[in-house]
């Protein structure tokens, strides 16, 4: 069942979206505002930015906050390798995202919505500005404003495009006009966000799904999924025949994702592993093929669903090279506030590149093991944890590949 990727959602034109049944969720929200958050709770909607935190809880916290000014931060900064769902939602289906943000504003009594988008995602911005402008001029928007009975604004803000700018406190810092430095939590964004005021930070996929929950109801939403409610956007890439964005029931098995929807492994090469959503999580390997892809099932396996990015690696692709590539990404993306992250990720990247490029030393593996222990949990945000987790899991599952690369190394000057 296609919800977010249904053709009716894929329009730049607000009138077309409303004609195809869009806006119904917002109408329901306007008539029964108090039922919004309970509906999300009943639907079991979770945060799709990677953490999977229950949306209703987050919304309730902002709704309960006592402040004159409250904000909705619609987070579309995605920048990590292998994830391209937010780009699709913002460029192809902006109206379901904006409608979701308006519903969130009604539920929480917000005074403003900031659609925070990555400028590096080509074409995002002009289309998005245009979509927002269509909403601003629409009578529905006036009804929302009237319903809230307070000054209310809806704006688009470009992010820096930096990876740390997607972390919720980094995003808030950027909207506040600074460099997107993440900070320690608590205080949570629901207490201290944009302009120091209570702020709801939600991924664009979460907000888009909220639109559909409000339109069709919680029961309908729950039935969409297999092992957990709803559908999920999977960004499928790597050594797969048909890479791309797949919207599938939550809890679809990894095997079904690869074989039924991805067309199977590219060139018939054996399956080796999957880097999931980040790629900052524990690798999924052949023994995980039948695991249901939902937040809790993957967490039970010691991994995470993350953003739903699935970078599939076949026998022809080197784990060492891929890990080096991703850790280098994290090292380049570190904001530099926390010394272990600033220095540690670069140290790991340097060693991985050295191994990959044929200059590995026999004691490099031990050094990497030690760095994993040192780095986990050493930063304010999760960046360094992502780097350490993907490293640790590749070392654990594919140690022989590392040993071979070091064994093959050229020791002559």
């Amino acid at each position: 069942m296609k919800v977010l990727t249904h053709t009716s959602a894929r329009t730049p034109d607000l009138a077309a979206w409303l004609a195809a049944g869009g806006g119904e969720g917002l109408q329901h929200a306007l008539t029964e505002t108090a039922a919004i958050i309970p509906a999300l709770a009943d639907a079991g909607l979770r945060g799709m930015g990677g953490a999977g935190f229950p949306a209703a809880t987050k919304w309730q916290a902002v709704a309960d906050a006592d402040a004159d000014e409250k904000w909705i931060l619609c987070n579309g900064n995605e920048d990590e390798p292998g994830t391209f769902k937010d780009h699709f939602l913002l460029t192809q289906t902006p109206h379901q995202v904006i409608e979701g943000a308006l519903i969130a504003a009604l539920a929480t009594g917000a005074t403003g919505i900031v659609v925070y988008a990555n400028p590096h995602a080509g074409g995002t911005i002009s289309g998005l500005e245009d979509a927002v402008e269509q909403w601003r001029r629409h009578p529905l928007f006036d009804r929302v404003r009237a319903h809230l009975d307070q000054p209310f604004e809806l704006t688009v803000q470009l992010s820096s495009g930096l990876y740390v700018g997607g972390e919720e406190t980094g995003a808030i810092a950027a909207v506040n006009g600074g460099f997107p430095f993440p900070r320690e939590k608590p205080p949570w964004p629901a207490q201290d966000g944009i302009h120091g005021q209570p702020t709801l930070v939600n991924n664009v996929e979460t907000l888009a799904l909220a639109t559909h929950v409000l339109r069709h109801g919680a029961d309908w939403f729950r039935q969409l999924g297999n092992t957990a409610p709803g559908t999920k956007l999977f960004s499928l890439s790597g050594d797969i025949l048909r890479p791309g964005l797949h919207e599938l029931p939550m809890g679809t098995s990894l095997r079904a994702l690869i074989e039924d929807h991805g067309g199977g492994m590219l060139a018939g090469t054996p399956f080796k592993a999957v880097f999931t959503g980040g790629p900052s999580n524990t690798l999924l390997t052949a023994s995980d093929l039948d695991v249901a892809l939902d937040f809790d099932s993957l967490r039970a396996r010691g991994s995470r669903l993350g953003t739903g990015a699935m970078i599939v690696v076949g026998a022809g692709t080197s784990i060492v090279r891929k890990t080096a590539e991703y850790v280098t990404f994290f090292a380049d993306s570190s904001c530099g506030q926390c010394p272990p992250c600033k220095i540690g990720t670069h140290q790991v990247a340097r060693i991985l590149q050295r191994i990959d490029q044929g200059w590995g030393q026999p004691d490099d593996l031990e050094a990497l093991d030690n760095l994993v222990e040192l780095l986990l949990g050493s930063g304010r945000c999760g960046l360094v944890d992502g780097a350490a987790t993907v490293l640790a899991s590749s070392l654990r599952a594919f140690r022989t590949e590392y040993e071979q690369a070091i064994g093959n190394a050229n020791r002559l000057p």
Partner: protein
């Protein structure tokens, strides 16, 4: 050439009875000759490309198989291999590669020149006729331009031709400065000698500069010395290119090489890559004999196409009219065109001339094939061709064989023939890839960071090349590409340099229903039994 012809002994009698044969009448217009008899127009040997930047384009089936092949290596083969760095990586050790390397190094770049054979071991040294350049008082750039465009049936890119001919005189001066010798003549009576000029086939003026009948060898001699003495050029012999490296933006940032001696892979990251890998003759397209050197296996074309480069006129090949047709073990080897420029005639099994010997190559080749098709060829030991009348030439210009056609005499001797008394049996031989990678006047392909020089580049000759323009192309475009590489090179320190373009490539092959187990580049002809696969994976296996 399976068609039956006139028995060799009978043909010799007809020849000696009619020599010197009168000029041919030319009953078919050249365009008709080519359309009916040239191998490029034999549709049953052609197929359409189904994947890549030029899907839909036609080319010989044998070439299509190579262009649409899978890579030899996977990403995993790159883990732990040695990394080397260069500002400019030149692939190919013929004249174009060496000229490009010299130029780039003199402009300050750190250059690596890799060749799968040895430096100079290529088609350049087999070029016998000469090099065209409009240096004569009765000549002009415009005439050279017009001749080249007309010779290519107006299918060449005029801008590329203009660049080629405009740089011609400077290229000759440059070669002289590198120490290359040219034949001189002393015909003014004032003791001053000038460059000796011959009239190549398909031209309006004497424009061909040469050194005896081994012009290419002399050129390579000078270039080889120059490059070995040039600081800033690292020459790696016996390093074969298997795949180009790309970055996530699709820029070419180096290549994966196979060290054939040590049987191991290395990757060279480079700011720019110049392909100078030559042509495709040794793939024996259509089962044809070839005049080409052992290494001419279309490697560069395959690599460039796989990273998305646009090609052009790859269905057009030049068949040199005068390849040796007999004996079998020397079949395909080249008899220089200079022999016709000097006045030698072609006669069929009836002892008659059938074509203006100085017509463009495709016309002469088509005319020979027509004679053979019609049963007017000459047959010897099951091999068919026509006769090249060297004895009459020697009688008309005594000493010409010994003084100007040294290589021909040597080749004839290998065949057990005295060319002064007996005509050679010749037939068209697969000689030159007219098309290739589409480039601009700097040799820049459609892929950033990837340049081409020499035979691999397309558009300079159109659908037919004039004699003497190939050597000129190597120098002119070698210099242009070398210079452009230095000005456009980028530091290749991206986070994801690799061969990730192969994912999309393999998806394309699967969707087009093409096999994944056909691998290219082939590096050597099949009869070389080079066993590339084993050499590539030798270390992978030993590590497991």
């Amino acid at each position: 050439m399976t068609a039956m012809g006139v028995d060799h002994a009978t043909a010799l009698r007809s020849w000696s009875a009619r020599a010197p044969a009168p000029p041919a009448t030319g009953d078919l217009p050249p365009a008709e000759l080519v359309r009916h008899f040239h191998p490029d127009h034999q549709a049953d040997h052609q197929s359409e490309l189904r994947v890549g930047a030029c899907a839909g384009m036609r080319c010989p089936s044998g070439l299509a198989d190579l262009l649409q092949a899978n890579a030899h290596i996977d990403d995993v083969d790159l883990a732990g291999i040695r990394n080397l760095h260069a500002d400019v990586l030149v692939l190919g050790g013929g004249a174009a590669g060496v000229v490009a390397a010299l130029t780039a190094a003199r402009d300050g770049a750190a250059v690596m020149l890799a060749t799968k054979l040895r430096l100079g071991d290529g088609n350049t040294v087999m070029a016998e006729g000469g090099i065209q350049a409009a240096v004569g008082a009765d000549d002009s750039l415009q005439q050279h331009f017009d001749d080249t465009l007309a010779g290519g049936h107006a299918t060449a890119d005029p801008e590329l031709v203009a660049a080629l001919v405009s740089d011609g005189p400077a290229a000759i001066r440059w070669l002289m400065a590198e120490g290359m010798a040219f034949d001189q003549q002393n015909d003014q009576g004032d003791g001053a000698s000038t460059l000796r000029r011959l009239r190549p086939g398909g031209t309006t003026v004497a424009r061909l500069l040469s050194y005896r009948d081994f012009t290419g060898l002399e050129m390579m001699r000078a270039l080889r010395e120059a490059v070995l003495l040039q600081p800033g050029v690292e020459v790696r012999e016996r390093y074969a290119a298997l795949e180009l490296l790309t970055d996530p933006h699709g820029r070419c940032v180096g290549a994966v090489l196979l060290d054939l001696e040590r049987e191991r892979l290395v990757q060279v990251r480079a700011g720019a890559v110049i392909l100078a890998t030559g042509g495709a003759g040794r793939t024996h397209l259509g089962g044809n004999a070839t005049s080409n050197h052992y290494g001419a296996t279309a490697d560069g074309l395959v690599l460039a196409y796989r990273v998305g480069a646009c090609l052009r006129e790859i269905d057009s090949f030049q068949y040199h009219p005068t390849g040796l047709a007999w004996p079998r073990h020397l079949r395909g080897l080249l008899i220089t065109e200079a022999v016709r420029a000097l006045g030698a005639r072609l006669v069929n099994g009836d002892g008659a001339r059938f074509i203006d010997e100085l017509a463009p190559r495709d016309v002469v080749a088509a005319a020979i094939l027509r004679e053979i098709d019609a049963g007017r060829g000459v047959e010897r030991d099951g091999l068919t061709g026509v006769l090249l009348d060297t004895p009459t030439l020697e009688r008309e210009r005594p000493g010409v064989l010994q003084n100007h056609l040294i290589t021909l005499v040597r080749l004839a001797r290998k065949a057990g023939i005295d060319p002064a008394s007996e005509p050679l049996l010749i037939a068209p031989t697969l000689h030159y890839q007219n098309g290739g990678v589409a480039v601009d006047t700097n040799g820049q392909s459609s892929i950033p960071g990837l340049l081409c020089a020499g035979e691999i580049a397309g558009g300079i000759h159109g659908r037919n090349r004039l004699m003497g323009n190939a050597l000129l192309e190597t120098v002119v475009y070698g210099r242009r590409a070398g210079k452009a590489a230095v000005t456009t090179m980028r530091n290749p320190s991206g986070r994801a340099v690799g061969i990730t373009h192969l994912g999309d490539w393999q998806r394309g092959l699967i969707h087009a229903g093409l096999p994944l187990d056909r691998r290219a580049p082939v590096l050597f002809p099949a009869y070389g039994h080079a066993d590339i696969e084993r050499r590539i994976h030798a270390r992978r296996k030993s590590a497991l």
